[in-house]
């Protein structure tokens, strides 16, 4: 089973990202589960969401304590929250960071793979202010699954309520993240 932990701030779309990734993996033929961790619901407060992916039905309903992948949607969280807590030593840590930005001590000490993607900038270039879609693309590009097509279909389903222009911008941003991670030239 692969477990992904999403770090975001309330309103940044961590919960949505956790669901889009789950839907995309379902399209790839996997069993999935996605859920947020609920605290006091305040815009801007640090929050968590999770995606589980497996070959067979995901039955467990317990918390994710030792994720394989951690995705951090907001650069400031690297200094504020224990983002590497429980992250498996041979896991993946994906950060929204500009080249040259200080990722903090915890990231420097993390022995697994680390990839930084300038998601805020890539999102802006594509006409959206949401880094979550860039990071979604980057996760898939880095892990090699799900495909960009599966992600795109999942995005359309989960974000069906968005106006067409905003959805197109999100798709572009996702593609930018996917390509950046696939080329590994992001940072």
């Amino acid at each position: 089973m692969m477990e992904v932990r999403w770090h975001g701030r309330g309103g940044q779309g961590a919960k949505t990202a956790s669901q889009v990734l789950a839907v995309a993996y379902l399209k790839a033929g996997k069993a999935v589960q996605a859920f947020p961790e609920y605290g006091p619901e305040r815009s801007g407060a640090p929050m968590l969401a999770y995606t589980r992916v497996d070959e067979r039905k995901v039955r467990r309903r317990c918390a994710v304590t030792e994720p394989d992948v951690v995705v951090v949607l907001d650069p400031s969280l690297t200094h504020e929250v224990a983002i590497t807590s429980g992250l498996r030593p041979q896991g993946h840590l994906l950060l929204n960071l500009e080249a040259g930005q200080d990722p903090g001590a915890a990231v420097a000490e993390y022995p697994g793979q680390v990839l930084a993607v300038p998601a805020d900038r890539l999102a802006r270039e594509c006409g959206t202010r949401f880094p979550n879609v860039v990071m979604l693309g980057a996760v898939a590009g880095w892990l090699g699954a799900p495909t960009l097509e599966q992600l795109g279909e999942a995005l359309d389903e989960v974000m069906a309520g968005l106006p067409p222009a905003a959805r197109e911008a999100s798709r572009q941003a996702m593609r930018a993240g996917y390509l950046a991670a696939e080329r590994r030239d992001a940072s």
Binding site: Q19, A22, V23, L26, G29, A31, V32, Q33, A34, F35, P36, Y38, R56, K57, V58, R59, R60, R61, C62, A63, T65
Partner: protein
């Protein structure tokens, strides 16, 4: 049985339940739509607003009023459903007793959550247990797929002529209500055909003659009327079994009253309600892989309590760990008490474990620990799993 199908959609338990309600097309859904309400009503009210169902969504001023309106609507002759959670169910309970006593077959979707105080709306069975002795039937779903299937099944159970009682369909708050997973919905027409037309004897509207409901009963008749309620609740077990068999025949999903998992030759087993079952199945598989003879029993039907079926399911088990997500301060918790009475005289040793109050996580590690403790003599009267200071799993 939940299947991962290519036609599945990723839905939360709450969304899946709202889809079941849309497909059932109840005539009336009275609700009080604020916290601690769940996304069940948020989603269902959107279906109503979008014209996906022609249900009358009645917004009332409290949960007490929601249940009161539900009783009136059901007895008037309309199929009636509502949804609630936590304090909302607590406020409803007075009228849930009345619904059962008046034999109003209302289906109540419950996102099982803690009761105040302190204020907490996370997963917990305290709200359901508050309504335990009301005469309403209680079902508990393990996941979103079961929440959907049990909701589709519930109107037939509630409205069966031998039953005529409210049915609560419980799903653990957050663990199921807010957890998204693949859910395979039936076709709208399949659900419509399965639930059929709503028919009750002597409805207030559209019946053959005048009828009175909610009448006064003196000591010369109250006892007999309450006894009829007891008989109806007990009759519901057989009706549930028949409906579960029919559901399996029609749709290929079998949801027996007791989910018996890897009980063949088991010596130690766990008994649970709700979403703990899924986590426990993973742990049972792990321990079986290590050669341990362990199994799991999960009740989908909690009221009526499937006493004979539980005895039959025990097989060669010598020690049973009963996990309660609620307490009865000063006494043993509810599921343990029920199981203890049901299994008296069998020689099986029962142990009481309380877990998960107010959303405290129940980890695979904690469940492994519970099963390993079952192999040794009891260390405590009631073990509080995950309580800080009680064991190492009490972090968070």
């Amino acid at each position: 049985m939940a299947r991962v199908e290519t036609t599945s959609q990723v839905l939360t338990g709450a969304e899946a339940t709202a889809h079941a309600m849309r497909q059932i097309r109840p005539d009336v859904v009275p609700v009080y739509p604020i916290t601690p309400q769940t996304p069940i009503i948020q989603t269902f009210s959107r279906f109503v607003a979008d014209g996906k169902t022609d249900t009358v969504l009645l917004q009332v001023e409290s949960e007490h009023s929601a249940m009161s309106a539900a009783v009136g609507a059901a007895l008037a002759g309309g199929r009636t459903m509502t949804a609630t959670a936590s304090q909302g169910l607590a406020l409803m309970v007075e009228v849930v007793y009345i619904a059962a006593g008046l034999r109003a077959p209302v289906v109540i979707a419950v996102g099982n959550r803690a009761l105040s105080g302190p204020i907490n709306i996370h997963g917990d069975h305290s709200d359901g247990m508050l309504a335990r002795d009301s005469g309403a039937l209680q079902l508990y779903a393990q996941d979103a797929q079961e929440a959907y299937d049990l909701t589709v099944l519930a109107p037939r159970l509630a409205e069966h002529p031998d039953v005529m009682l409210p049915v609560m369909v419980g799903q653990d708050g957050f663990n199921v209500t807010h957890s998204a997973e693949p859910v395979a919905l039936l076709a709208d027409e399949e659900v419509g055909e399965f639930v059929g037309e709503y028919r009750i004897p002597n409805p207030l509207l559209g019946g053959e003659g005048p009828s009175s409901h909610g009448v006064f009963a003196m000591p010369d008749s109250y006892f007999e009327i309450r006894y009829q309620l007891v008989e109806a609740v007990e009759a519901a077990e057989h009706v549930y079994d028949e409906l579960a068999a029919e559901y399996a025949r029609r749709f290929g999903r079998f949801l027996p009253a007791i989910d018996s998992y890897r009980m063949e030759d088991a010596q130690r087993a766990l008994l649970v309600l709700g979403s703990a079952a899924g986590t426990a199945k993973d742990v049972v598989d792990d321990l079986r892989g290590e050669g341990e003879r362990v199994g799991l029993l999960a009740l989908r039907l909690y009221r009526p309590f499937p006493e004979a079926a539980l005895r039959a399911a025990m097989g060669g088990v010598t020690r049973l760990g009963v996990l309660d997500r609620a307490v009865s301060p000063g006494a043993y918790p509810p599921l343990f008490s029920d199981a203890h009475a049901a299994l008296s005289g069998t020689g099986i040793e029962l142990r009481s474990f309380v877990y998960g109050l107010g959303g405290r996580d129940l980890s695979t590690r904690a469940l492994r620990q519970v099963l390993s403790e079952l192999a040794a003599p009891a260390a405590a009267r009631i073990r509080y799993v995950g309580l800080r200071g009680e064991d190492d799993d009490g972090e968070s």
